[in-house]
């Protein structure tokens, strides 16, 4: 048909039917699509709609308590009132919402700026505001329907009732860092990563809190909160999706009274005190001074305060009792003595001390410039004569000294259930070759004999050594966690059988230090308890090198030196001498001499431990459901 004859009534019906048929096909196609969406794809789309409909809110389970040995709470939970703001959901009303929150909660300017920044970035993460009071919290709660993007929640927040006294061993919890989140994600645990991003979640950052995170944390619960597209909650009640499982308690070996006393006794010194049971190895006190308030970290520590803590030359954030390492100084002399006895050294043999000792063409000085005169082992320990131990050390030899040092607990990293435990260092031939690439020289033996040189030990090592000296050389493993907590690996210390006739003169020497005329800590010997005496040993660790020129001019007294150059004061002891129970080590950084700075503190803490009968107090325990049972038999 040519265009010339084109007439509008020839093909109409055929074409109309054709179009109608095409329409029918389209209709069929649309119906199939509807069926596909509502059956095949329904499951996935239903999930997507639930993601829209519900705000899945993880709820941290109540964190397990951390208690002292008698069940006194050292880390507990208190209720807190949270207001949460999700900027991306506030939308166009963000400015109004922030202004309302500012008025209702009396927010400081810095917080307002933080909220505004969140809005500018359309942040996907909620910003947590801690309500100052229940009143502020309820004022916001009442107006939730007018405040898009805002929700409220009551949670539990970690609280440390003893604040600074237990900050070091217990540590603290804080908001997970981006690194924590990334690490969870790398481990393939997206659910945990999301949990960590929840603004109310806190995780252990240091101390017992971090090392026992899994036990303390429990399993978070989950609730579904219905929201509209603006993030406003609808009126419906939250739906519990998964019940939380509470964290389990951890009972420590520490005694709250003793630890608090030790902290008070150390005062403003940069110091540490470790008290251990001479038989069980339980730590009754693990204190570092100065302390800091761990509660500051829970809500995020203001950077100014953190900077102050971090830059303080007394290093309050540092767990000196476990992490700090010092040359043991004269406190090491008992180990040298026992090694010498093992090598056949006669304890009654007298060594003459003129104030120095010549060895290998060098002069090795005694701390007493005038010299001690003739010294046997008892006097050598009592008066801490360096020359006596140079001779004894040479008799023992460096390898034997190293072996005894290890048997007495030096050079091991103890797994206590807290991070940051130092290994210390016990030098021997092999180490020396590796470290310096040359052979051991005799002068180094002399230095080691009096606890100087490369030897390094933490206050914990010193306390373990004191235990061995007190119990006659039985191996003791320090223990911080009494019940609960993550499983720990125990390494066996190399055991050396020490004959009683070797141990007795050493113990008597230590008794003499405290109780006989001429003892270096004679002034601190009186514990003020009837029938109880103590044995101890002073030590001083040099921080600076004394040059020959200075020796000729006369060594500058500690009191005339700037604080950071003064010697560290060390002291180890145990009591009662008659029936040993408590071993102690005290280190006062830059405290000058061990006898003046450290010994009185150690004596007072030991006396306190005996008077409180720390070891005899009825302990708390966990029942088979891992619930805390207090000594009176009540369940917490």
């Amino acid at each position: 048909m040519g265009t010339r004859d084109l007439k509008p009534d020839i093909d109409f019906n055929r074409r109309a039917l054709l179009v109608a048929g095409a329409g029918g096909a389209v209709w069929a196609g649309l119906t199939m699509r509807l069926v596909q969406l509502q059956t095949v794809e329904s499951e996935a789309l239903r999930l997507a709609s639930e993601e829209n409909q519900f705000d899945l809110r993880l709820r941290a389970a109540p964190r397990g308590l951390i208690t002292d040995r008698t069940g006194v709470a050292l880390a507990a939970n208190k209720p807190d009132y949270q207001v949460l703001f999700l900027p991306e959901r506030a939308g166009a009303e963000a400015g109004y919402v922030i202004e309302m929150l500012r008025i209702l909660m009396d927010l400081p300017d810095a917080t307002v700026v933080r909220l505004q920044r969140g809005v500018d970035q359309a942040a996907h993460e909620e910003i947590l505001l801690q309500a100052n009071s229940w009143e502020d919290f309820s004022r916001v709660s009442l107006r939730l329907t007018d405040l898009p993007g805002v929700s409220t929640d009551t949670g539990m927040v970690r609280a440390y009732p003893y604040a600074r006294a237990f900050a070091h061993p217990i540590g603290y919890v804080a908001k997970p860092s981006q690194r924590d989140v990334d690490r969870a994600r790398e481990a393939g645990d997206d659910g945990h990563a999301r949990f960590l991003q929840d603004p109310s979640v806190r995780i252990g950052k240091t101390g017992v809190e971090i090392a026992n995170e899994a036990v303390l944390q429990g399993r978070p619960g989950r609730v579904k909160i219905e929201v509209d597209v603006h993030g406003r909650r609808t009126g419906r009640a939250p739906i519990a999706d998964l019940d939380p499982v509470a964290g389990q308690p951890v009972i420590l070996t520490l005694d709250a009274r003793l630890q608090t006393y030790a902290m008070e006794r150390m005062g403003t010194e940069s110091a540490s005190a470790v008290v251990m049971d001479t038989e069980t190895g339980e730590l009754y006190c693990l204190a570092s001074s100065p302390g800091f308030d761990p509660n500051l970290f829970v809500d995020g520590i203001p950077s100014r305060i953190f900077r102050e803590l971090n830059e303080d030359d007394h290093r309050p954030l540092y767990h000196k009792a476990l992490t700090g390492t010092y040359p043991p100084g004269s406190t090491f002399k008992m180990v040298t003595a026992l090694a010498a006895l093992d090598a056949g050294f006669d304890p009654s043999f007298r060594v003459n001390c003129p104030g120095f000792y010549f060895f290998g063409g060098r002069r090795f000085h005694c701390w007493s410039r005038r010299g001690h005169g003739p010294m046997d082992m008892h006097e050598g320990i009592k008066q801490s004569c360096d020359v006596y131990f140079y001779v004894a050390g040479l008799q023992a030899g460096p390898e034997r000294i190293a072996k005894f040092a290890r048997a007495f607990g030096f050079g091991h990293r103890y797994e206590l259930g807290v991070p940051g435990v130092s290994r210390g260092l016990v030098p021997d031939f092999e180490w020396h070759q590796r470290r310096y690439g040359r052979q051991w020289s005799g002068g180094e033996t002399l230095n080691n004999s009096i606890g100087q040189g490369a030897l390094l030990s933490s206050p914990l090592h010193l306390a373990v050594m004191s235990c061995h000296l007190a119990n006659g050389g039985l191996p003791v493993w320090p223990k911080l966690i009494r019940e609960g907590g993550a499983p720990l690996n125990r390494i066996d210390l190399p055991e050396i059988a020490i004959p009683a006739d070797h141990m007795t003169p050493v113990q008597k020497g230590m008794w003499g230090v405290m109780n006989e005329g001429g003892g270096t800590a004679r002034g601190s010997g009186d514990m003020g308890i009837e029938g109880v005496t103590m044995a101890g040993k002073t030590g001083t660790a040099q921080v600076r090198i004394i040059t020959m020129a200075e020796r000729r001019r006369g060594v500058i007294a500690n009191a005339d030196l700037p604080w950071h150059l003064r010697d560290h004061a060390l002291f180890v002891a145990y009591a009662p001498f008659e029936k040993p129970r408590y071993a102690i080590s005290v280190v006062v950084e830059h405290g000058g001499s061990g006898s003046k700075a450290a010994a009185p503190i150690a004596r007072d803490i030991l006396a306190q431990a005996i008077m409180l009968d720390v070891a005899g107090a009825a302990p708390a325990r966990l029942d088979d459901q891992k619930r805390l049972v207090l000594p009176q038999g009540t369940t917490a």
Partner: protein
């Protein structure tokens, strides 16, 4: 025929089908309004009931009156489209509305009906007078179509423009447009469409097309709209989540839920039974319209019915295709169910005309 006979022979089934669609519309305007009549749901209900009654009354208007009104309606609509260019009200970035004081109307919507009637009259005359040849049968009607289409595209209103083009083009096709021209036109379309998309479109229109081709490219969040719509339909599942219980609808996740995406609301809350009922009602309405197209005696009635049927069908198909994620977002409502004024009026005018044709099936004019 007496009025009584007319009342008796009125296509009551069609009235019932349309009433069913209107009822769905009223029920779901109430639902998307948060289960309240206050505001737009009430407004919609009042208006559609009024329009529905007027449509049934208009069914008794003789066909020659419709025919007599065709060209005046076309001329007035064209003038209003020009007026929109000059004094139109701009809403949502497009100049589409004309404020008449008592109501704002969209002249482009009225033009849909007017164009169909005018072309139907033209082809009626062509047959009556034995007009033939390419110029008279193709070119002149095409010009009649393209004049308003150009004005509507310029507003810009891509969706309505395409609908006008579709109904006008359909009538020319029914009139016998040779296949080789159709093939040629399709070829031109294939070449011209990308060029038009790239150089002739407004940014938001281009974004819509690009978003459809590549959902990741989504500067206006329209992929989001489609995604939420699909979620609503799928989340409803086969049996739906219950009337007033759809979380996508009630918690505002479904965008444009009163207008373009009302079908998703029906599908979420009443599932397949509800959604399929709407589709079945449309299928019934369209089938009855096709039957009228094929069986009416007067050429005017046949052509006008053909145009109205194509118009309603394109409305429905494009809307459903868009809501179910098969087409780009073009902003076309679901007739009678979506919230709207002029659009509902025009569709009900089409229904009135169909009823009128039904009563006057055998009239020659």
């Amino acid at each position: 025929m007496t009025l009584r006979e007319k009342l008796f022979s009125l296509n009551w089934l069609m009235v019932l089908v349309v009433a069913g669609l209107c009822a769905f519309g009223i029920a779901f305007q109430y639902s998307v309004n948060g289960g309240s009549w206050v505001g737009e749901a009430g407004e919609h209900a009042e208006r559609i009931v009024l329009f529905f009654v007027v449509a049934v009354v208009l069914a008794f208007v003789p066909l020659r009156w419709w025919r007599a009104a065709a060209w005046p309606a076309y001329a007035v609509s064209l003038l209003m489209l020009v007026a929109v260019e000059v004094v139109g009200v701009t809403r949502m970035g497009a100049q589409r509305w004309l404020d008449l004081g008592i109501m704002t109307i969209q002249p482009s919507e009225i033009m849909k009906m007017a164009l169909v009637l005018a072309l139907a009259d033209y082809f009626h005359r062509a047959i009556e007078n034995g007009w033939k040849g390419f110029w008279l049968i193709v070119v002149v009607p095409l010009l009649v179509t393209l004049l308003p289409v150009a004005l509507v595209f310029h507003q810009p209103n891509l969706g309505t423009g395409l609908l006008l083009l579709a109904s006008g083009g359909a009538l020319i096709f029914f009139a016998g447009l040779p296949w080789r021209y159709i093939v040629g036109a399709l070829a031109v379309l294939v070449v011209a469409t990308p060029l038009y998309v790239l150089y002739g479109m407004h940014d938001y229109q281009r974004d819509r097309v690009m978003t459809f081709i590549n959902p990741d490219y989504d500067p206006q969040g329209e992929g989001y709209n489609i995604a939420q719509s699909k979620i609503a339909i799928g989340a409803g599942g086969f049996w739906g989540r219950g009337y007033l219980e759809g979380s996508q609808v009630q918690n505002d996740f479904l965008p444009e839920k009163q207008t373009d995406f009302i079908f998703a609301a029906v599908a979420e809350e009443t599932g397949f039974p509800g959604a399929a009922s709407i589709m079945a009602l449309y299928a019934a309405l369209l089938a009855m319209m096709v039957s009228l197209t094929l069986n009416a005696r007067a050429a005017f009635a046949r052509y006008a019915m053909a145009g109205i049927t194509v118009m309603v069908a394109t409305y429905v198909f494009i809307n459903l295709g868009m809501v179910m994620g098969l087409m780009p977002v073009v902003g076309i409502p679901l007739p009678l169910v979506s919230f709207g004024g002029t659009a509902i009026m025009v569709i009900l005018a089409g229904v009135a005309f169909a009823l009128s044709v039904g009563l006057n099936r055998d009239k020659k004019l």
